[in-house]
């Protein structure tokens, strides 16, 4: 009895899958898949980039869509977990019939999606994954952000020149491709300008106790500590560093930028520095328009870099579809690869041979519980 019920149920579900698989191709809309970390450890990143993407799609559709067709954005949550991304991306491509994929912020999870998109011949645009390996996966993978060799060099220069630090310690999250990559390029940058790495320690993302490593860092007496981690861990590290009396500037990359860093870290993150993609208080008409539209759509919330990049990734893709003149994945890929100077909110984007965006970075400082714009560094 039970078994028969189960069999008929699975038969029905098979049928449904098959039906929905073919019903999506064609039609009067262009299906775009998005995967993001809407819940979990890096949730604020996923939510921000998703909101940016959503705003872009809504803006485009309000203006009549692309190629006379509406864009249909299908979003899946990977819960900030390893393994979940491949499930949702496979579903977006084979079941929902997405012609292109957008996602995501964390490099580890973009790296999970990239081979799937590449094999299926579907172009993928990552809004904010900065690890070089992401686009090295294949010729269908793009990004609208700068890459870690650039970000690492920018921070190395900033630490040695602006902060005048000669001895630097590096504290890496060994669980994250992003952190390991950024740490590597930062170290190379420091050595190139004649600085010295006095301590290199590791942690596992999600750890709660960092005092052992921080005590070792403190005993090496660095002038600054570089922590290329994500905001939750960085906030706890800053708190414990402060408790241990490690009172030197802490620096990091775009993984820091989240309201949660300020909520958890409070006064412990005050005065520290990080590099990121854009500053909402920068003087540029494109930024001002975007900030206003975003605030209007999301109840007065200030857009962070991930929101701006999420917006840019969707706009960049739409621009590619327009220039391709069709919603064919192959044509879109070729059009994206030929992008020369696309005006994005986060700066002018040119796609190079590696399918990476060549653009500038900004450096922010935490001041009075807010992120404050410090300087822009051109590529």
């Amino acid at each position: 009895m039970h078994r028969r019920y189960f069999l008929s149920l699975s038969a029905i579900s098979c049928l449904l899958t098959a039906l929905s698989g073919c019903s999506k191709t064609g039609g009067d809309s262009i299906v775009i898949g998005e995967f993001a970390s809407l819940t979990g450890k890096e949730a604020t990143f996923g939510i921000s980039s998703h909101e940016g993407t959503l705003l872009a799609v809504e803006t485009l559709n309000a203006a009549g869509g692309v190629l006379g067709k509406k864009l249909e954005l299908l979003t899946e949550d990977n819960q900030s977990k390893a393994g979940e991304t491949s499930n949702v991306v496979n579903k977006l491509i084979s079941k929902d019939g997405a012609v292109a994929i957008l996602g995501e912020v964390a490099s580890s999870r973009s790296l999970e999606a990239a081979p799937i998109c590449q094999q299926n011949g579907i172009p993928m645009v990552s809004p904010a994954s900065t690890n070089p390996k992401v686009t090295e996966t294949g010729d269908h993978i793009f990004r609208v952000c700068f890459i870690d060799p650039f970000q690492g060099t920018v921070m190395a220069n900033f630490v040695t020149k602006s902060l005048n630090a000669k001895k630097v310690a590096v504290f890496t999250d060994v669980k994250s491709d992003y952190s390991k990559g950024l740490a590597k390029f930062f170290k190379e940058g420091i050595l190139k300008v004649g600085g010295q790495i006095v301590a290199e320690l590791d942690f596992n993302g999600g750890d709660k106790d960092f005092k052992a490593q921080l005590t070792a860092i403190k005993s090496a007496a660095p002038d600054a500590v570089f922590i290329p981690g994500y905001y939750t861990d960085v906030a706890l590290i800053a708190i414990q560093a402060k408790q241990l009396g490690l009172n030197v500037p802490l620096c990091g990359g775009d993984g820091w930028e989240s309201q949660t860093l300020l909520d958890i870290g409070k006064d412990a993150v005050e005065g520290h520095y990080f590099s990121t993609h854009y500053a909402s208080d920068a003087a540029s008409p494109a930024v001002a328009t975007f900030v206003e539209a975003y605030k209007k759509r999301f109840n007065g919330k200030m857009p962070d870099a991930m929101a701006a990049l999420g917006y840019d990734s969707a706009m960049f893709l739409a621009d590619g579809i327009k220039r391709a003149g069709s919603a064919d994945s192959k044509a879109i890929r070729d059009a994206l690869a030929a992008t020369k100077d696309f005006e994005a909110v986060t700066g002018k984007i040119a796609i190079n041979a590696q399918r990476d965006a060549v653009k500038s970075a900004v450096i922010l400082q935490v001041k009075d519980g807010k992120f404050k714009y410090l300087e822009t560094v051109a590529p």
Partner: protein, 303 residues
């Protein structure tokens, strides 16, 4: 030298937390002979209880305050005691006569159920929440060494609770009954002991301990999420095994040892990557030579 002493302090502070959590594991094991894997999740629920109670207490008496903290801890411990008793009645009691393995698997199931229910948007959500500062904090500086007031609180609380538990188990009527149940459930029942009541009490007490540990853990690292119990829970379980499972001082000793090992391994440049690996390798070595745990045989009586 400073460096070494500071690591010693860090290690003791971390180890005390592990010890506190391990006490709960070991006590339930002592009575029921099975590992309550949901213990780590009750710990998380304790932290969340405090997170939700704190604003209400803040209305009456502005935090950070010591009295306020005490009230929050007591309320959270009561909530978690209730949850622990409920878990036992719903999940473990129906399996009382089944093989122990069945109960063990069920415990893992309960643990996963709590973790993933709490990660749902409608419950707590999976993102990290900032834990409020409940107590006034002060960092004591002793010639280059830093001792946080929170760390002192953890150490003192662990000692008090260790002694309190020992007292309950060894010197009270309830404790005598617990030991009787642990020794032989059927015989205990024949002697007129209400087994269900004793087991409920054990779970309640263990879960209250977990709540205290959860709050102290959250004070140490003030970012809480539904999976926050998994890592310390695993460590505490191992600490309990290391000390000799079922043995209260053993759990405390195991926790301290594990905390120290982790801290010293984590503080070495180049090795910090392998912090857990080193700590656990040493544990395996210890267990190879003392399979019953450090204090497993030395003291005959089991809780």
């Amino acid at each position: 030298m400073d460096w070494l002493l500071q690591q010693l302090i860090n290690g003791l502070a971390l180890g005390s937390i592990y010890a506190l959590i391990a006490l709960g594991y070991t006590m339930v094991y002592g009575v029921l002979r099975f590992i309550n894997f949901a213990h780590a999740d009750v710990l998380m629920l304790g932290a969340y209880s405090a997170y939700f109670i704190a604003p209400a207490i803040h209305e009456v008496m502005p935090l950070p305050s010591l009295t306020g903290t005490l009230i929050i801890v007591l309320l959270s411990a009561m909530i978690c005691a209730g949850i622990g008793i409920l878990i036992e009645i719903l999940a473990y009691r129906p399996l009382r006569q089944r093989p122990r393995l069945t109960v063990l698997i069920t415990a893992i199931g309960v643990s996963l159920f709590i973790e993933f229910t709490c990660q749902h948007k409608a419950v707590f959500g999976a993102d990290t929440k900032p834990f409020p500062q409940l107590m006034p904090v002060h960092d004591f500086n002793l010639g280059g060494l830093v001792i946080g007031s929170n760390d002192l609180v953890v150490v003192v609380t662990t000692l008090i609770l260790l002694f309190g538990l020992w007292f309950i188990v060894q010197r009270t009527k309830m404790g005598t009954a617990m030991r009787a149940v642990s020794f032989n459930q059927q015989a205990a029942a024949l002697m007129g002991i209400n087994i269900n009541r004793i087991i409920s009490f054990t779970f309640g007490l263990g879960s209250a301990l977990a709540a205290v540990a959860g709050i102290l853990y959250a004070l140490k690292a003030p970012g809480i999420d539904p999976l926050m119990g998994v890592q310390p829970g695993l460590r505490a379980f191992i600490a309990a095994v290391l000390g000799g499972i079922g043995n209260l001082p053993g759990a405390a000793l195991g926790g301290l040892l594990l905390g120290l090992l982790e801290t010293f391994a984590g503080g070495i440049s180049g090795l910090s990557n392998y912090r857990d690996g080193i700590a656990f390798a040493i544990l395996i070595l210890i267990l190879l030579f003392k399979p019953a745990g450090l204090l497993g045989k030395a003291t005959v009586e089991k809780v």
